[in-house]
Each structure stands twice: as structure tokens, then as C-alpha cells.
Symmetry: none
Subunit: 209 residues, 4 copies
DNA sequence: GATGAATGAGGGTTCATTCAT
DNA sequence: TATGAATGAACCCTCATTCAT
């Protein structure tokens, strides 16, 4: 039954999305299956038919996020010059954070708790980061980049890009953006790009002669 | 009388500290009074003798944090030159974050939830930030600073300094710091300082001729 | 479906009956959901599956009583002569009170507390009483009844009829009726009827020449 | 220490009055010692210093009420003619009910619960009622009173007089008396007197030639 | 698959009472 | 006496999960 399977998959996606929404708001312990079910538009009993436990659902969602990030974000050792690679990374990461803030929030929440459920996921994340460090080191050695600590450089980029998702509410207040409206992505991206390009001796996109 | 009052105050502080610890871990909804009591070394009933409700305790803690930050962190419009002022701010903020990461985590968690309990606290936070923006603008106009968006500059500093508290667990993994040991504060501070001083056209502390 | 719905309805009735029993004994504040559940033969959690809160259950029960009374007790402006109408009213009310004393007790308890939950119910009760007052006034004007204050006449009938429910325990002692046995309804009804018929100039059922 | 004793007695009276107020509202189970203490203007710990338990306090209050009633209300076999005796009784009882409604309410509440704490008090109450029955029977035999069931006659008088205390809130609504104002005692007394005098063949106070 | 019902555990809070000071 | 503190039980209610249909 391809149709049945399809429906099943759709249901799982609906549940996952609802779980992200709700876990992002109140964490694992603070989110009830009732609320997740409601958010997914199904009954609590129905939810428990599709998942085996709340913890397991959380784990799944976490894995999904980590996998997704690994797929999307990387400092490609490709043909791009460093400036483009970095600017692209920042833009991609920031747009993702602004569009799917709940994903960042859920992840941040998990880390802030001491990352008790991340056990199985560190490896691939670290691999991804180490790989990028190598790329950066390569650039530095090739004289294409001012010397930076590749790890802290990445962590700080991560810090800034994640921030606008997690602290959206605060950014909204400080930037006088009303509740419904989106944050000014371009302005944020421009400033972040400038910040990190200047750090490694590359001209920013800012005003040039 | 003084002894009794002192004991009472000590109890309230112990409770507040326990609350910060636990709320930081699991948020308002995910933290039980049971756990807070345990963490404070008292019984649940005893805890409820000292607090009027979990929500109220949370509010108190939140107020405490905001007030504390307002007192400690500011870009002083004092006699300091911009470089010193900014470096000092970053160092102070980062050392605080690394020493009391739970405070940052609790705050981050509240903001990530949409800041439902922050209603009464935005004003003073925003005032503090606006004030600092004025200082920065002054420096720029005086030609002491390259032109930056004062607000985004501050938000990004905040992002980076907060990050090492909230993402401590991740930083620990990426930086290969074992569980008991502290993160390398000096290294982090140096990089962050360099990052933001370079952004506004001031030489970093980095290698100079 | 019909079977399930029927079972559901039966459960709700069982709960309502248990609630009446228990609220009648100890009032809203003095009755625990535990006790209500026990009285209904279910678990506490099960009870809370069917009701939304103790207060709401109480409200429902109160509404049920008021509605029931409005339906059953009224001084019909029908073809009955006053004596029959009044005698019928007293008999109906007294038999109801003696058969379902808990209903009277629960209501009495609510009123004695200052009727904090009656807000929404006074209107229909007052309407019912005012309507009856009109009927009585009509009889008086038609010369069929000695002049009485229609309102106090009704209140006093209410007082006497309710009394044997609320004060059943006392009546039992004074009338030497052992615990299991019912009060002598006929004797009570006869005396009450006589009392109120004599008041308004109608011969009672008592000894006539 | 006469002064100390006096203060102690005053405290006990204050506590008793507070207990009557509060027990009248919510019954034994529904009233907390906290609330009683507050109503008496003392702390909970202080209250428990003066009483030995909530149950015992309730018992004391109940005993106080029964004793008080026994002292105040009785159909005196004195020199009064029946009409005066009955009218006096009704007036005294009604004025007491209207002035101290909480006493009536507390008593009613106890009886409605099945009078579990009255065990020790029935005897004197019944004795009092039986005594009055004798008086009434005497009057009937002397031809001074139409034949009535002495017991039901008394119970009904009790019903009507108590009613305006217990159902004060309802009477207030039906009689359009605003919350602060007292009920119209004279009107109520007149009607009740008329009712019971007519019952036993005595002219009411109503219009006479 | 989906739904209503059930349940044992736990959540926040209050309780009557006692104790130390 | 009076007060703040402490406690174990209870209170109302929600939880994650299971089961029958």
C-alpha cells in the first residue's frame, strides 16, 4: 500500500514538526505529549500509536536536526575563495536560523541542559567541525586568510548565527520589530559577514572605495 | 533576631541558587519544585513555606538576573578609550558567563520560549542597551571608532559572550576539554576581543609589530 | 456508538449523584475529589477524566438542581383552585425533599455560604418566584384568598418544606424515628398543609364539622 | 494573675467567634485553622496554642450554641397567655437568627451533615423540646389552643425562624434587599407570627375589629 | 488505524500540627 | 506566650502510557 505508507510518512513528519515546535518552547521535560498531539492535530492516543515514547521522539528529532545541519552547513573546500565560502556559510546559516528558529532553539536547549541526549551525535558534529578547521587551516597556510584560531572562529560564527534564532524575542524588542514582522535578515547578515571577514583580514561587503 | 533574619536570608539565597541551577537545566515548566527543594537541600513542603509559588520564584530569579546584569555590564561612557571599554566589557561578560553559566542559560531559555515572563523587565534592559548605543555613536562621531551599527555590534558581542555559557557542553566537546575542567577563558576572551576590536577598526590585542 | 455514549452518560450521572451526596455532606471546600470518586465507585484519576474541575462539577450540580426545581415546583396558574394548588405544591415539594434530601442540603449549604456560585442562577429562580407571586396576588384580588404577603408566604412554605430535608437528623431524633426508617411523610405533609391553608383563610384538611 | 486569666478568656472568645464565622461558611472540613486564626487576628501557631485541635474547637462551638439556645429559647410555661408566649418565642428566635445568622448556619450545617458531632448534645435539646410540648399540650387541654401536633408545630416554627438566617442570601435576592442592608425584621416577624397564631386558632396580630 | 477510557505516578500546593526559640 | 520553621499527609489535577473496542 504505497498510499498507506505515504500517509504514514506524512503523519510522522507532522508529528516531528509539532515536536520541534513544542520541544523548542519548553524542552523535553516541560512538554507534554498532549500538547505535541494537539499541535500535530491528532489525539494523544493516536500520537502514542506512532511514537514509542516521548524520549524516543525527542531523540529522533535531535538526530534529524544534527543530520540536517551536517548536510547543509559546511565550509566547502570547494572552488570558492575564502571570502565567498565564509559569506555563504554565514548567510545560509542565518537564513536558516531566522526561518526555522525552533530548530535552533531546541538544539540550544538540549545543549544548555548539558546535552544528556546528544551522546550519539557528538561524533558526527565534531567531525564536521574538524573538517572545516582543516579547510581554514589550509587557507591560512596558503596565505589566503589572516591567522585565526579555526575552532574559535567557527564557534563564534555559530554563536552569532544561532543567536538571532534563540534570542529572537529579545532582538525583536531591541530592534523595535513588532510581533508579527520578521527581523531584518539582510541587515543582520551584512553585519555578521563584515564582522567575520574583517576578523580574518578579508574586506567585508561594507563600503569600499 | 538578627540571627534568625540572617538564617532566613541564607535560606532564600540557597533557594534562589537552587532555582537558578534547576530552571537553567529544564526551564520553568520542566522543573519540579521537588527537584528545586532537593537541590536546595530541603523538603518540598519547606520550600513552599519560603516561596509563594513556582512561577513567582521564577519571576524573582529572572528579576535578579536582569538587575544583576544591568549593574555589572555597561559600556561606560567614562574616561576609558573605546578599545579599553570594549575589551573590558567583553572580558567581564565572558568571565561572568563562564563562572555562572546557569544564569545565562536560564535567561536564554526564557527568551527562547518567547520571553513570556519578561514583560516587566524589557524596559530596563532596553534602556541599558540604548544608553550604550549612544556611547558608541559618540565614539563614531568623534572619529574614534569605525562606523558600526551600534545595536548589532552590541547584540553580536552579547551573542558571542553568552554562547560559551549556553553551549558550554558543545564547546567542551569541540575544544576537547574534559568534563570537570574549565574552558580556557583566556583563549576565548582573546579571540572575542580581537574579533570585535577589528570590527570597529581598532587594533586587536593580537600580534603587533 | 450508542452503547459507548450511553455508558458515558451513565458515568456522568453516577458522578453527579456521587457529587450531590458528598457536596451535600461537606460543601464544596470540604469535599475532596477522592471522596467523590470513591462514592461513584471510580478512581480519582478516572473522575478527573470526566470532569474538568471540582468547581465546575459543583457548578453543574447546582445548575442541575435549580433547573430541576424550576421544572417541578411552581404554583400553577391553572384551573386548580387555590387550596388544591397550594396543597399540591406543598406535597410535591415535601415529598421531593424527603426523597432527595441531599439536593436540598447541597442547595442550603450553598446559600448559607453566601451563595458565591449562584451568580448565574438567581435570575431564573427569582423569575419563578415572581411568577408565583402574581398568581397569588390574582387569587387575592379575586377574593379567593385572604390577603397575604405573596413573597413571604412562599418563602415560609419553602422554609418548612426544605426543613425536613436539611434537618432530617434532628427531626429523626425529635420524632423518635430510628436511623434506617423514613420520616412520617403523611403526618408532616398534613400539618404543613394545614398551616399554610389556614394562613390564607382556606379550610385545612383538618377536622371539619 | 487575674489580668492574664482575663486576657486568656478574651482570647478564647475571640477564637470562638472567629470559629463560628468560618465554620458557618465552609463547615468543619472546609475550614482551615489558618483561616480561623486570620479571622481571630492571630497566627496559626498561636491558635494551636489555645486549642487542642480543630475538631475539638468545633465541638466546643457546637456545645456553646446548643447551651445558648437552651437558655434563650423555650416556650415558658409561665404566666403568659399562649398567644404572647408564642409571639414572644417567634420574635426572640427570629431576631436572634437575623442578628447572629452564623450560629444558625453552623448548626444547620452540622445537622445537614448527619449531625456526627451532636452525639452528646441531643439529649438536652430534646429535653427542651419535650418540655415545650408539654406546655402546649397543657394549653390545648385547657381549651386555650386549637389542637395541634405540639412537636410538628414547634419544628415548623423552628423551620421558619431558622430559615431567614440560613437562606439570608436568597431572601435578600427575593426581597430586593441590597447586600449591606439588613432584612426587614419586623415584616418577617409579623408574617411568621400571623402564620403560627392562625394555625392554633388564635387571632394574629393582623387587623382586628 | 483511531478513539474513549483507564491508571499509577507525580506535579504544585495546602493542611493540621509540632517544635525550637 | 508568641513566632518562625518544619513535616508528612492530603489535596486538586496532569502525566505518559496502555488497553479495549
Amino acid at each position: 500500500m504505497t498510499t498507506a505508507q505515504k500517509k504514514r510518512r506524512e503523519m510522522h513528519i507532522a508529528i516531528r514538526d509539532a515536536a520541534i515546535r513544542e520541544f523548542a518552547r519548553n524542552g523535553l521535560a516541560g512538554t507534554s505529549t498532549q500538547v505535541i498531539a494537539q499541535s500535530a492535530g491528532i489525539s494523544k492516543a493516536q500520537l502514542h500509536y506512532y511514537i514509542s515514547s516521548k524520549e524516543e521522539l525527542y531523540q529522533q528529532v535531535l538526530g534529524h536536526i544534527v543530520r540536517q545541519w551536517r548536510e547543509i552547513f559546511f565550509l566547502s573546500p570547494t572552488r570558492d575563495d575564502p571570502a565567498t565560502a565564509i559569506a555563504t556559510y554565514i548567510e545560509r546559516k542565518l537564513r536558516h536560523a531566522l526561518e526555522y528558529p525552533d530548530i535552533s532553539r531546541l538544539f540550544a536547549n538540549e545543549i544548555a541542559r548539558g546535552a544528556p541526549e546528544m551522546a550519539g551525535h557528538w561524533e558526527e558534529l565534531k567531525a564536521s567541525v574538524d573538517e572545516a578547521s582543516e579547510v581554514i587551516r589550509g587557507w591560512i597556510e596558503a596565505g589566503m586568510l589572516a591567522p585565526v584560531d579555526p575552532l574559535l572562529f567557527q564557534i563564534n560564527m555559530w554563536a552569532v548565527t544561532q543567536h538571532y534564532a534563540e534570542y529572537e524575542a529579545q532582538a525583536r524588542v531591541l530592534m523595535d520589530v513588532p510581533d508579527g514582522a520578521p527581523l531584518d535578515a539582510d541587515r543582520i547578515i551584512a553585519e555578521a559577514t563584515e564582522l567575520f571577514l574583517l576578523r580574518c583580514g578579508l574586506q567585508g561587503r561594507g563600503p569600499r572605495p
